[in-house]
Symmetry: C2
Subunit: 231 residues, 2 copies
DNA sequence: CCAAAAGTGTTTGTACTACACCCATGT
DNA sequence: ACATGGGTGTAGTACAAACACTTTTGG
C-alpha cells in the first residue's frame, strides 16, 4: 500500500510576477512604471506585473508580461527575490516573484506602453509606488549593480552601436558614482571585447565620437578560457 | 464607480519552501538531506521543505520548517531563487522558493533529525535527489560562495569558539579549493575582526591551537565606517 | 581662432601571490 | 630526541587609483 502525497489541505496562493524594467536614454538609467487601473490604489504608480498561469514557468510569465507591455520578445531577465509579507496586497494574499529586465529603450512599442499609462522615470525622480514596490525597486538596483560589475549585461541597455561616452554614462548611472574616464577607458580597452567601428556619432560634438559594438563571440571565447568581465 | 481588483479567475498555486541546510563538522562542508516518506519518489533523498501558509511570510515558513527538523530557532537564512518548471513536482503544480541556511552542527537536535531519516552528506558524496533538488543544491552552493566571500557569515557554521585551522578548513571547503594558509591568516589578521582567546583547543595537537571568537560588534562598527569583509 | 567634446599614458600606491622555516609539546 | 601540528614574514607582481594635456572641427 502506497502512501500518496496529499497536498489538498495546503493553502494555495496567487503568485504574481513583478518586473522592474530598466532602460537607458544615453544619459541616465531609468525605470518604466505604469499607472494602476484597479482598486485598491487606483491611479498610483506601480511596477508592471501579472499572475503566473498553470501552463508556464516564472521566466515565461515574466516574458509574457513584458511582451504585453513593451512589444519586445526575449528581453534580458533576472529573477532576484520573492516578496511575501502577509498583507502586502490588501486585496488578497499574493506572493510576488520579482524580476528585473534590461531593454534598449529604442525598441519598445510606444503605443503599447501608452495604453498602460507607462512612463520612464530616473531612479531619483520616481514617484512613491504601491505595496512594497519601492523596496522591490531598491533591491533590483542592488542586484543590477552586483551583476553588471561581473557580467557584460550592460550592453543590453544600449543600442547595438554606442559611443564610449554612452557606455561610461551607463556605468556611472548604474553605480550612481563618478568613474574616472581614463581609468574606465583603460579597463574597457584591456578587456578587449569591443569592436571599434569606422562610423562616428556626430550628434554630440564637432569632432564626432567613434561607435563601438560589443563583441559577444570574442567575449564567450575568452570566458571559456577563464576570462572574467569586471568593471 | 470603482473598478475593484478581481483576482478570482487567476490560477493559484502551491508554494513550497525548500531549504538547503549547510553544516560544517570542523573538516568539511555538509548538507542535511531527508528521506522522503511520500509517493511519488518515496524513499528517495530530498531537501527539507514545506508549504507556505496563509498566515506567514516566506522567511517565517523557512524558519518554521527548519525548527521542525532541527529544533533550532533563528537559523541564518538566505532566500536565493524560485523554481517553477511546470512539471517539477509530478503530483501537482508546485513552485518552490529555495533558501539556504547555515547552522552550527552541534546545535541541532539529533532525535528530531533522525525522525525525519535525515543525514549529513558532503557535497561530493550526496545522493541523487528528487525533482529539481540537485539543481537547487548546486545553485545554493554558488550563492553561498558569493555571499561568504563578501560577508562574514561563515561564522554561522562554526561553534562560537573555533581554531584558525577550522576557519581555514571551512573556507577551503566552501570554495572547494586550497587557500594558502599564510595568506589566509594574513588576510584574516588584517581585517582585525577576531578575538583571540587565552584558551587553547588541545584536541588535535600536542601544542594546542588558540581559540578565536568572531567580534561582531567590532565588525559592525568597522562596517558602518566603510569597511568591507572580503575573503 | 576659439569653444566644446573626444581621445590618450604614466606614476604611485595597494593588494594579492608565492613561498619555507622555527616553535611547542607529549611521548 | 623526535614527530606532529601550530605559528609566523617578506619579496615580487599585478591591479587599481590618481592625475592633465592634446586633438579635432564647425562656426
Amino acid at each position: 500500500m502506497k502512501k500518496l502525497a496529499n497536498y489538498s489541505e495546503e493553502d494555495k496562493v496567487l503568485l504574481a510576477v513583478d518586473c522592474v524594467i530598466f532602460g537607458f536614454d544615453r544619459e541616465e538609467l531609468k525605470i518604466l512604471l505604469i499607472k494602476r487601473e484597479l482598486e485598491p490604489e487606483r491611479g498610483k504608480w506601480s511596477l508592471m506585473g501579472g499572475f503566473l498561469r498553470n501552463n508556464e514557468n516564472l521566466d515565461e510569465a515574466a516574458n509574457r508580461i513584458l511582451l504585453h507591455l513593451t512589444g519586445i520578445k526575449d528581453i534580458y531577465l533576472e529573477q532576484f527575490h520573492s516578496y511575501s509579507k502577509v498583507d502586502r496586497d490588501p486585496a488578497e494574499r499574493t506572493i510576488s516573484v520579482a524580476y528585473y529586465s534590461l531593454i534598449n529603450m529604442e525598441d519598445h512599442n510606444h503605443e503599447l506602453t501608452e495604453n498602460f499609462g507607462a512612463k520612464w522615470f530616473t531612479i531619483s525622480s520616481a514617484p512613491p509606488l504601491i505595496f512594497d514596490h519601492n523596496l522591490i525597486v531598491k533591491n533590483a538596483i542592488s542586484s543590477l549593480r552586483d551583476k553588471t560589475s561581473k557580467e557584460p549585461i550592460g550592453f543590453e541597455l544600449l543600442p547595438p552601436k554606442f559611443t564610449r561616452k554612452q557606455l561610461h554614462n551607463l556605468y556611472e548611472s548604474i553605480f550612481n558614482e563618478e568613474l574616472d574616464i581614463r581609468n574606465f577607458v583603460n579597463k574597457i580597452n584591456s578587456m578587449d571585447i569591443l569592436i571599434k567601428l569606422d562610423e562616428k556619432d556626430m550628434s554630440s560634438s564637432r569632432k564626432g565620437s567613434y561607435l563601438y559594438k560589443f563583441d559577444q563571440e570574442k567575449y564567450l571565447e575568452k570566458k571559456a578560457q577563464g576570462f572574467d568581465f569586471k568593471i
